[in-house]
Symmetry: C2
Subunit: 345 residues, 2 copies
């Protein structure tokens, strides 16, 4: 009789834990990253350029892996990993950010800790070397979640983050990208003068004008975290902000999964992409892969958008779906097994 009671009690306690979905320390860990999705064609790449990208992704993965391997937290791992990509001019974030219509750079970033649902984000910042670290400072050193523009920069300075002159972000590649985008825009305006807004949307959508970097991780304690950083769209106007710094859209983490998105941000905001993936898992009992596929392969194209995401769940399952021609991406598992990819499988 006593035994039966004990068993019943154990079942009850287990159920309580299951309901609360507390993280379980399994010792397993994994890190997944992306460097942006878009029109990435093998025909327009050289083997040399491919290798440069692959090596950059591997470098970022190794930094985050060393943190996770040594028992570090998921939030530390995603921040450090994104910083590496922010510092690399290859990616549209931090150093490699694209230019706005006015020839400036405006950076957005967000970070979220699934363990306690704390989050931080900055948008429209122009002098912070590593926006992802500013997002983390907002999360941990203020009682706010989001700061924008000059106010966010003031805060970053106050907490001692590295501030750089806007010229730090200048790269020839991105400047030429802006010139090209402006040229194309003026051509388009002639061709599409009478077009509807809809076709304008679609036309723009075919361009490779966006890029983002992101990381999601599960640590040995069973905690999840996500971070994303971007320079936004080349030639963007009017202080446009995409999905990256919007908690729930481009970045989200709870105790079920961690998600970081890349793509045509407006569609990701309208779909509240990252939170939708998490809710399909929590409320519909879908697998991470099923949830992410529904959002990226069905809901996103149904609205006319494109892009991709990376996600990891509490059991260490991960997925990297995209509906564009390519997405810079990669993962590293607890056993050190690492893979980086650019095009579709």
């Amino acid at each position: 009789m006593k035994k039966v009671l004990v068993v019943l009690l154990l079942i009850f306690v287990n159920q309580l834990i299951a309901q609360k979905n507390e993280p379980v320390a399994t010792g397993n860990y994994v890190l997944v990253i992306h460097g942006g999705a878009g029109t990435i064609l093998k025909s327009q790449m050289t083997p040399q350029r491919e290798e440069v990208y692959m090596n950059a992704l591997k470098k970022a993965l190794r930094i985050g892996y060393s943190i996770l391997k040594n028992g570090g937290t998921a939030i530390d791992a995603v921040e450090a990993t994104v910083r590496v990509m922010e510092d690399d001019p290859l990616f549209n974030a931090g150093k490699g950010a694209v230019f706005t219509n006015e020839g400036k750079i405006e950076l957005d970033a967000a970070i979220m800790n699934g363990a306690d649902l704390t989050a931080g984000a900055v948008a429209g910042v122009t002098t912070i070397k590593n926006p992802v670290s500013a997002a983390r400072a907002v999360m941990e050193k203020s009682n706010h979640v989001m700061m924008i523009g000059g106010g966010a920069e003031k805060f970053a300075k106050t907490v001692g983050l590295e501030i750089v002159d806007p010229s730090y972000f200048f790269t020839d590649d991105r400047w030429n990208g802006l010139l090209k985008a402006k040229m194309e825009d003026s051509l388009k305006q002639n061709i599409y003068r009478d077009s509807t807004k809809r076709s304008f949307y679609q036309f723009n959508n075919k361009d490779d004008k966006f890029g983002t970097v992101g990381a999601v991780a599960l640590d040995q304690s069973g905690h999840l975290a996500a971070a994303t950083s971007t320079g936004g769209m080349t030639n963007k106007k009017f202080g446009r902000v995409g999905d990256v710094p919007i908690i729930g859209a481009g970045t989200y983490a709870n105790n079920y999964c961690a998600v970081s998105c890349t793509g045509y941000g407006e569609y990701f905001i309208r779909l509240v992409m990252a939170k939708s993936v998490a809710d399909l898992i929590e409320l519909k009992n879908l697998s991470l892969k099923e949830a992410a596929n529904i959002m990226i392969m069905k809901k996103l194209p149904a609205l006319g958008g494109d892009g991709g995401l990376i996600a990891v769940d509490k059991n260490g399952n991960f997925t990297m779906p995209f509906n564009t021609t390519g997405m810079y991406r990669g993962y590293i598992k607890a056993d050190g097994g690492m893979e980086v990819k650019i095009y579709k499988d």
Copy 2:
């Protein structure tokens, strides 16, 4: 046999429609509004002041009602209703916005059309008379969803919205509010010098430093829409942005429901409040009331936050839960039946 086939076909078609959850034109319509939740104590109000608030809420409801009654769209109704409240110095939005730490005003607003999941938002704007209309212009006259700061103002000017000198937003009440908040903050810093961040959070949270206006509507065609507008927190620093302009957090609408939130915005962002309500309905088959109650009465206080929301579903059911002492709120139904309230029932 033919009859059976026809019936089966009809069932199949109905199921297809049910899966797609297309809006059904029932001729029913409803408008629900809020003017902010917080520490609103009957002991600190006079019957005269109560009446002034009630009349302001009724005025806003009547404007939106006339649009819905005449067959207008939900999106037109929520925009017009929020504009009335933005123009009223009683509410912390538009004309009645509170001051930042620097003695400026920074306005945020968002709008979303459930019919096609289009959305628009502005944040940190200082010269746009009606931010909700700027949000709508972003939604309909740009290919973006969110614009911030000076860029958003430039865009508003470009599309012909009314621009005002920042002095337009000056009210004695709000200025005194800032002076009081600064005084209290310096006192708190002395008292709570050694306090943990957590208690700082909670202490602030007890203040009535936030306020927002919002409207949600169902129109005769069965479409849903939501709009929210705010001046943010009194004495806010560093370009802080709350949940209002975050699609999915303070504002969200699809074909299941429309939601507008008010409260301590940081918690609403972390919970992705408005989208969470919608997902509990869509993915868990909860009623609107059940979904909103879980979020406002359980998830929000569990995290340490407070506030409320208004929501309406596709069948015209509506709910107005809050976990603070009061929330300025009201509704008007198709039969003209109207009610406005301030405190708990």
